[in-house]
Symmetry: C2
Subunit: 216 residues, 2 copies
C-alpha cells in the first residue's frame, strides 16, 4: 500500500548489539538485521519518514532512510529514547540483555588458565518505552524465544511491557529467523494473533505494517 504511512514518523531498530569484553572480543548474538531492514524499507515504500537505529548490520541499510549507528545496548537505549516521539516505534534489533560488567581496553593476552566473565543485565529499552509517556505512539516489539512455551512467554511480554504488537518467532528452528532470509512468525496484539507461515522477510515486514496500520 504505497503512501499508506505518508506523514508518519517510523523508528525501527535493526541488527544485533555487541557488548565489548576487550579490544577485540565481544558478546554478540545471531541477528543479521534483515528483518529490521525489511521493515524500514517497507515503511519507506509506504512513504513514512523512517529512522533506522542500526546495530552491526550484516546487510546494507535501505536507501531513503536516516541511519543512526548504535553498536551496543547502551547506544540503542540512548538513540531510541531520544527519538521516542515517533508515531510508530518498532524494536526489531536483538539488543543484548546482558553485558560484561568490565571491559578491558587492550586485548587480553592468552594464557592456559580459565577465565571468568561477569555479565550484568542491561536496561530493557522496550519496557522503558512501553512504560514511558506514550502520546498515542504505537510500540511494536519482537520476542525471539526457544522451546515449547515460547508463544506464551511472548504474550506475557506483550502485556508486561505494554506493547501494542509483539512479533514472536521460535529461534530454535533452523533456516528461519536469526541470520536467515526467511522467517515464520506470530503477530500478537491484545485482540488476537495472526500466524504467518514461512515467508521472505519482506513479506513478513508487509504483514507487520498492515497490522500496525490497523491500529493507528
Amino acid at each position: 500500500m504505497s503512501g499508506s504511512l505518508a506523514g508518519r514518523r517510523v523508528l525501527v531498530s535493526a541488527g544485533g548489539t555487541r557488548e565489548p569484553i576487550d579490544a577485540v572480543r565481544f558478546v554478540g548474538n545471531r541477528s543479521s538485521g534483515r528483518m529490521g531492514v525489511a521493515l524500514a524499507e517497507e515503511a519507506r515504500r509506504r512513504e513514512a519518514r523512517v529512522t533506522l537505529i542500526a546495530s552491526n548490520l550484516a546487510v546494507p541499510a535501505p536507501e531513503g532512510v536516516e541511519v543512526v549507528e548504535a553498536p551496543t545496548a547502551a547506544d540503542v537505549e540512548r538513540e531510541a529514547t531520544a527519538r521516542a516521539g515517533a508515531d510508530v516505534v518498532i524494536m526489531a534489533a536483538a539488543v543484548a540483555d546482558y553485558r560484561p560488567v568490565e571491559t578491558e581496553d587492550a586485548k587480553r593476552p592468552k594464557d592456559e588458565k580459565r577465565w571468568q566473565i561477569e555479565l550484568e543485565p542491561t536496561v530493557d529499552v522496550l519496557r522503558a518505552l512501553g512504560e514511558g509517556q506514550r502520546n498515542g505512539r504505537l510500540l511494536v516489539g519482537f520476542a525471539a524465544e526457544t522451546g515449547e512455551n515460547g508463544l506464551e512467554r511472548a504474550r506475557q511480554k506483550l502485556v508486561a511491557k505494554k506493547l501494542d504488537l509483539i512479533v514472536y518467532n521460535d529461534v530454535s528452528k533452523r533456516d528461519i529467523g536469526f541470520d536467515a532470509a526467511e522467517n515464520e512468525v506470530v503477530i500478537m496484539s491484545a485482540n488476537g494473533e495472526r500466524r504467518i507461515d514461512k515467508a521472505p522477510k519482506e513479506e513478513i515486514a508487509a504483514a507487520i505494517l498492515d497490522e500496525v496500520e490497523r491500529l493507528i
Copy 2:
C-alpha cells in the same frame, strides 16, 4: 603476477569464529573476513588451487575458490588439520582463543541477577600446524595485537609457533585492521620485516603473497 602460483595448493582461513554461550548468544570478535578473502582472491588470480575455511564472513567469498564453513574454533581446527597438506597455509581468521566451558541449548531467560560465564582456552591451531609434520609447507600467521609491545609479541609468536611469516597489525588503531577495508601491517620473517603503510586489503594481500613466493 598472474600464474605465479599455478599448481600450488593454498589454504586460507578467513573471518572470525563465534563460540556459542546459548541458542542466541556467543563470544565473537571484530573480524569481517575481508583480509582472508582478499588473500584467497589474490591467490586464485595467481592461479593457485585455493580452499577458503570461512568463519562467519561478513563479505562474499570469492569466485573460483572451494569454501568450507567453519563457524567455531573447533570447526577451524578440524577443517584446517584435514587440509594441512597444502603447499601454503595462511591462517588469517580471528580464531577464538577462549570459548565458554558450557553451552546451553536453549536461550537463557533474563532475570535481574548477574551471570558468570567461564571461558577455557581453545586449541592453538596455528601452533599445532607449526609443530606438526611440515613437508615443505609454508605457514603464515597473523598477529592482531594492541599496545606498545605488539610488534615484539608478534615476533615472539613467529618463533614460538615455528611460522615462516607473520603479519602483524595493531588493532587498537581505528579505521584499519578489523572490520575495515584498509589495513596497515608489518610482514615479518626470520630474515627481517617489511612495513606496509595504510593500504586497501587487496594491496596488502598482494604484498603478503609476494613474500610467500620469495620463500617457496
